[in-house]
């Protein structure tokens, strides 16, 4: 097996058993990045020197007998996470020159365990997009078919795992930004419950929806990553102070008697036939494993996309006000303060970001606030209640992640509404604040991966990981590799 195809748990065993060093593993990953990056474009910044230095430090730790599951493991993270001393752009020209003075809590936790940072991954600008086409640093291609998008906004995070450019990656998910690219690139992606992982040091898009999560080769790796990331952070008032369970140990407990809900609003006419087939196959697999299916309804699903695009853009319009050219980031030369503001922001932000700032500013404006923002918050409550009601009778829900497999580059970039609809099955989970995971569940006729979504109760990550693991053990989808 190639080193760069290894999972965290396999590489960890090899590091611990001294069959391989972190420097060797890191060098193998860097070589792999060099060879496939021209085809994929997963990275905005690669940090080879720092990576090798961190690998040497990890090897010294391992030699001392300190080998945490993540010690010496080469990872890459979305360019939305602040990394002290390493440029952090968030996919935007406005942060082209931004070198942060501090690191995000989530990355800091992995780093303290001895994880090695290979670099910063491409993404839609400010995480606004579903295709990675809105990045100011070029598009990312789907490793399964380089004429297709990898999904977004954590497109680089998914493509890097699929193209074996990192053992695992970090992404963020505001409306599906981990799960949709994971589905399109055939990897495992988890969006934890809101508050489970600290948002401190993660560049905010929509604060009440953003959540950090891992993208990995398999469910076991996902459990390892979540356990390292999860936990209360006194620097994030919205992080929740509940104990972090052992996510790995219960993985093998199976799904016998597990009640899985099938929300009827997610199995609609017009669902791509390949996706439909993959879902039917998954349901069959779970039946065979002893799970029980329950038909449920999430009646306000239809309003989710509209609700999301009011709340997320409203929050974004305010979150992005700090990019004003005064203290950091791009500053244009112009006459006067207003001129400087206008020009810096006009030059610094891309089309999609500007569109969302304008939408959100409008939704919060005097005279429109009640009709848009307040109304959207009320609908959000109804959507949350849908989930609470449904979860009274089921343990998890099973749905498609996206209505179609990865689409072609350029196909939807000029049709924002069509683009927004690609997140129709993932957005409600963010609005409800609960957790969900995407895992490989089949392939389209043209060979593109298709993901299945398991939605859990709030702080029910343990259950969806266990259900995902059982599925993975019974299928071989996750073992297939992109031929890039």
């Amino acid at each position: 097996m190639n080193i760069f195809d290894m999972t965290i748990h396999k590489l960890h065993a090899a590091l611990k058993g001294k069959q391989i060093s972190s420097v060797e593993a890191t060098s193998a990953m860097l070589a792999r990045i060099e060879s496939v990056e021209p085809l994929v474009g997963s990275f905005i910044t690669v940090t080879p020197e720092q990576a090798l230095e961190a690998a040497r430090a990890a090897d010294r730790r391992i030699a001392r007998g300190e080998c945490h599951l993540l010690t010496g493991i080469p990872l890459a993270i979305k360019d939305i996470f602040l990394t002290e001393g390493v440029r952090t752009t968030c996919g935007s020209r406005i942060l082209d020159n931004f070198i942060p003075p501090y690191s995000a809590t989530s990355w800091e936790k992995l780093r303290l365990h001895g994880a090695v940072l290979l670099g910063k991954l491409n993404q839609d600008e400010f995480a606004m997009g579903s295709s990675n086409e809105s990045s100011a640093y070029g598009i990312t291609r789907n490793p399964w078919d380089t004429t297709c998008i990898p999904g977004g906004s954590s497109g680089g995070s998914a493509a890097a795992v699929a193209a074996s450019e990192a053992v695992a990656t970090l992404g963020t998910d505001t409306g599906g930004s981990i799960r949709q690219p994971a589905s399109h690139c055939g990897c495992v992606g988890l969006k934890p419950t809101y508050g489970r992982v600290s948002r401190y040091g993660v560049i905010a898009y929509a604060s009440s929806l953003d959540q950090v999560g891992p993208l990995t080769r398999d469910v076991a790796d996902c459990a390892i990553m979540l356990e390292a990331l999860a936990g209360y952070d006194p620097k994030d008032s919205t992080s929740v102070d509940t104990a972090v369970p052992d996510y790995s140990a219960p993985l093998t407990r199976g799904v016998k008697g597990l009640k899985i809900g099938l929300p009827k609003e997610y199995f609609i006419d017009g669902l791509d036939p390949d996706v439909q087939r993959a879902m039917e196959g998954a349901i069959e697999t779970y039946r065979r494993l002893g799970a029980e299916f329950v038909d449920i309804s999430l009646p306000h699903t239809d309003y989710a996309v509209a609700t999301y695009y009011l709340i997320a853009t409203a929050e974004a319009s305010s979150n992005l006000a700090r990019y004003d050219g005064v203290r950091f980031g791009h500053r244009a030369e112009a006459d006067g303060l207003l001129g400087m503001y206008t020009k810096s922001r006009s030059e610094g932000f891309g089309t999609e970001v500007k569109r969302r700032i304008m939408l959100g500013t409008y939704a919060l404006s005097s005279g429109y606030y009640d009709a848009y923002y307040v109304k959207a918050q009320k609908v959000r409550t109804l959507i949350m209640n849908d989930f609470i009601t449904a979860f009274a009778s089921v343990d998890v829900m099973l749905t498609p992640v996206a209505p179609t497999p990865a689409f072609k580059i350029g196909e939807k970039i000029n049709d924002p509404l069509q683009m927004y609809l690609s997140d129709i099955f993932t957005i409600p989970v963010n609005l409800a604040g609960t957790c969900a995971m995407s895992l490989p569940a089949g392939f389209s006729a043209s060979g593109l991966p298709i993901g299945l979504q398991l939605i859990g109760k709030p702080f029910g990550e343990e259950t969806i990981l266990r259900a995902g693991y059982a599925f993975e053990q019974a299928t071989e989808w996750h073992t297939r590799k992109a031929s890039i």
């Binding site: 952090t88 942060p100 620097k235 008032s237 700090r322 503001y341």
Partner: protein, 486 residues
Amino acid sequence: MKYQPVIGLEVHVQLLTDTKIFCGCSTRFGAEPNSQTCPVCLGLPGALPVLNKKVVEFAIKAGLSTNCSITPRSIFARKNYFYPDLPKGYQISQFEDPICQRGWLDIKITTPDSISADSVKRIGITRIHMEEDAGKLVHGDFSGRDDGSGVDLNRACTPLLEVVSEPDLRSSDEAVVYLKQLHQIVTWLGICDGNMEEGSFRCDANVSVMPVGSSTLGTRAEIKNVNSFKFVKQAIEYEIQRQIDLIEDGGTVVQETRLFDPNSGKTRSMRSKEEAHDYRYFPDPDLVPLVINDQWIERVRQELPELPEQRQHRFMAELGLPPYDAEVLTASRALAEYFEAGVAAGGNAKAVGNWIMGEITRTLNDSGTSIEACPITPGELAELLKLIDNGTISGKIAKTVFDEMWKSGKTPQIIVEEQGLLQVSDSGAIEQIIDDIMAANTGQVEEYRGGKEKVFGFFVGQVMKASKGKANPAVVNELLLNKLKG
């Protein structure tokens, strides 16, 4: 036509916490620019606010002391606007559901028709909310450059309370009395240093006028950032007259924000309603709703000091002080505490009060010293008063001793001993003096004996002078009377 002014005040109170409202940076005044900053108060990407609990407790204290209800679940909101001193492009404040609501202050006002009799007027307090301050712009000399403007974010994220009154004030005098009373409360509570020059306590005034007898409020102008009691009075008076003149000339008052210029004593337009910002307030998703339960409120209530009004009543009821003395002695918490310490050290309440209001206040004023830095302790003052009471020194000599205590820091006993200021009560010694004086002033003795009793005062003066003020006046009186009557 006669006009009735209508005034409401918005007061910004900078809180005396050690650290900022949403981060751990120091709030100390006057440090090197930007030396007291971190990712949170610099508004760096990814940084998140965490509420300082002390700020909440200070806000609860302010609310309880102004008869407000404490909101069980209050919300922080973002106020969005662009300015270089506002790092995030929004200020975290409170909009709907502020921490304190619906309170009042009873202010003492003197009405023109009954100048002597104070009456009490209740001024409604609409709300008190918590918010962060902005940084400040420094023009010219900054970081070794003199050709531009700099931003100093040391003050950014400093905790403020905004206290908003109802438009219940009807004159500049009422506004000043309200403001002084509020100032007294927040400094008394120890939640604000009250320094108006440094901007720790600053005020915006909403002013309108309407014809007397009308119940429809006129259009108001908001006057920004007036930073002394004197300026508040000036600004409001100017604004009232400006609006009246405008209406009398057939014009109309427009809703606008105006700036007071202390040099000219005038207000001038800053921006009109049309130019006003749309702040696009919405709940800050980075902060969870602030839940305050009854136990928390009770715990803070227990920590409240006795407030000025309560203390005045106690001074009157328990110590028998006249209302005027009680009010003067509770002008500040430090003064009231000085007074009480003096009484506790054995001083007679009325006497301690008189000395504080007299000699001490005068000497403090003359030397520009605050009561906190008074070189004479309350215990030493009480000692001095005891020396008068037990006849060791006379009241006149006591003033000399007081001056010496102030200068040298010595105790009254030591000064009396060192300078030989003991009162002379020995009748033999005093008789001798009287005899000498009567012998030298036979003419006046005759006058007295001839029925001109006024001359008695002359003899007392002469005896006291001859004894250098040390003779016991009671003994002098008695002996003189006997001798003159012969």
